[in-house]
């Protein structure tokens, strides 16, 4: 679900300040950005998403590249806003848990499909909590959003070697947690 061959025209229209272009960019890139922000334990992911788009508007003139590059660039901005929010709050990210009240519910509720899905999300979040924020970001960016190693390194502001090390440690931690 990408904009495709129309991307250069949409980007130019957005740079010219046309609202339809911004709406199209928002509908394309806001959902994955919001998912990423939520998965990283942002305290207020919806507000951060708005901040991300303000940053995109402000710095759009500095961007040059294709659609894949733009997608990677928006995630770089999201990651930057996320780290800033952690610094402002003066603490590390919260552990992303879907709904703490649902974790450990009685077994009879497992018959409901929606509850089962939420429980699964809670379990996943609990296991992901064994990872450090950077390891969690690597897992999310590589497995969920399917970024390449170099793109992930660019988004995290690290070298590819550093990302490989994070991958290695993440897999080792997951092996331990699941074993």
């Amino acid at each position: 679900m990408a904009i495709g061959s129309r991307f250069p025209q949409v980007l130019q229209a957005a740079a010219d300040g046309l609202e339809w272009a911004w709406a199209e960019l928002y509908q394309e890139y806001a959902p994955p950005l919001l998912r990423f922000l939520r998965s990283q334990g942002a305290a207020d992911p919806e507000d951060l998403l708005g901040d991300c788009f303000v940053q995109i508007v402000t710095h759009l003139g500095e961007f040059a590249g294709d659609e894949a590059g733009f997608r990677s660039w928006t995630f770089t901005i999201a990651r930057s806003r996320l780290v800033d929010s952690w610094r402002r709050a003066g603490r590390r990210p919260v552990t992303p848990v879907a709904d703490p009240t649902l974790v450990g519910r009685p077994a009879q509720h497992h018959t409901d499909a929606a509850d089962a899905q939420l429980l699964q999300a809670g379990d996943v979040a609990e296991i992901l909590a064994v990872l450090t924020p950077d390891q969690r970001a690597v897992v999310s960016l590589r497995f969920v959003d399917r970024f390449s190693l170099s793109e992930t390194a660019e988004i995290l502001g690290r070298s590819e070697g550093s990302v490989k090390l994070l991958q290695h440690r993440a897999i080792r931690a997951l092996r331990r947690a699941l074993g």
């Binding site: 609202e19 996943v124 497995f143 290695h168």
Partner: protein, 220 residues
């Protein structure tokens, strides 16, 4: 580490065999991660966020080239920064000089190579006594200083005060308040000290000295 990164590539490719049950568990978990982290809906957020986008881009709808006036802004910021820096450095320098008990202007003018004509009063710093202008603060001469009741200054000031202030046309001979001598009285006494007793030198309308004496007598 190399093995784990190979595992990572296999996990990404979905190429997990039955040879490594733990890795199969990790692969199953990552599948669950993907399924649980579905793309969220943003329809309810879109209007508010697009409004923020619009507010962040005040020239929305205008061509991109119109908001590229950064060099002028940069130049202005640079000039303002330079001015602020200059004022700050001068203030700091003056503060340091004052802290060391040095008159910063004097220190600057005493620097070797500083033009003599630009020095205050054109005086030679090596012979400050020959200064063209007096450097000491004039003392009010109306009342003898309590600290120096009988010094020369009090003596020189007395005739002026005794003679009364120079009667001008405006005050018609009314003397000035003796309890609060004004700088005018000081000037008059300075003139008396320097021996220039011509009325013109005071910058006031000429007055007959005899009249002055007379008014003083009347006053007395």
């Amino acid at each position: 580490m190399g093995d784990d990164n190979t595992d990572f590539d296999r996990l990404l490719a979905g190429d997990i065999g039955a040879d490594d049950p733990k890795l199969s568990q990790v692969a199953a978990f990552l599948d669950r991660v993907q399924t649980t982290q579905e793309l969220p809906g943003v329809a309810e957020l879109e209007a508010a966020h697009i409004a923020r986008v619009r507010a962040s881009l005040p020239v929305l709808g205008t061509p991109r080239t119109q908001h590229r006036e950064r060099p002028a802004g940069r130049t202005r910021r640079l000039l303002v920064g330079l001015a602020v820096g200059l004022v700050a450095s001068l203030s700091a320098g003056a503060g340091v000089a004052a802290a060391f008990g040095v008159n910063p202007i004097e220190a600057i003018t005493n620097l070797p190579g500083f033009p003599a004509q630009l020095r205050p009063g054109g005086a030679d710093p090596k012979n400050p006594n020959e200064a063209g202008t007096p450097t000491s603060i004039p003392q009010p001469t109306g009342v003898p200083s309590a600290d120096h009741p009988g010094d020369g200054k009090g003596q020189t000031a007395r005739p002026t005060q005794a003679g009364g202030p120079n009667p001008s046309a405006s005050n018609k001979g009314r003397g000035q308040d003796k309890a609060h001598p004004t700088p005018k009285a000081s000037k008059a006494s300075d003139k008396a000290k320097s021996g220039d007793d011509s009325p013109r030198a005071t910058g006031k309308p000429s007055a007959d000295p005899t009249k002055k004496d007379k008014s003083d007598k009347d006053k007395d």
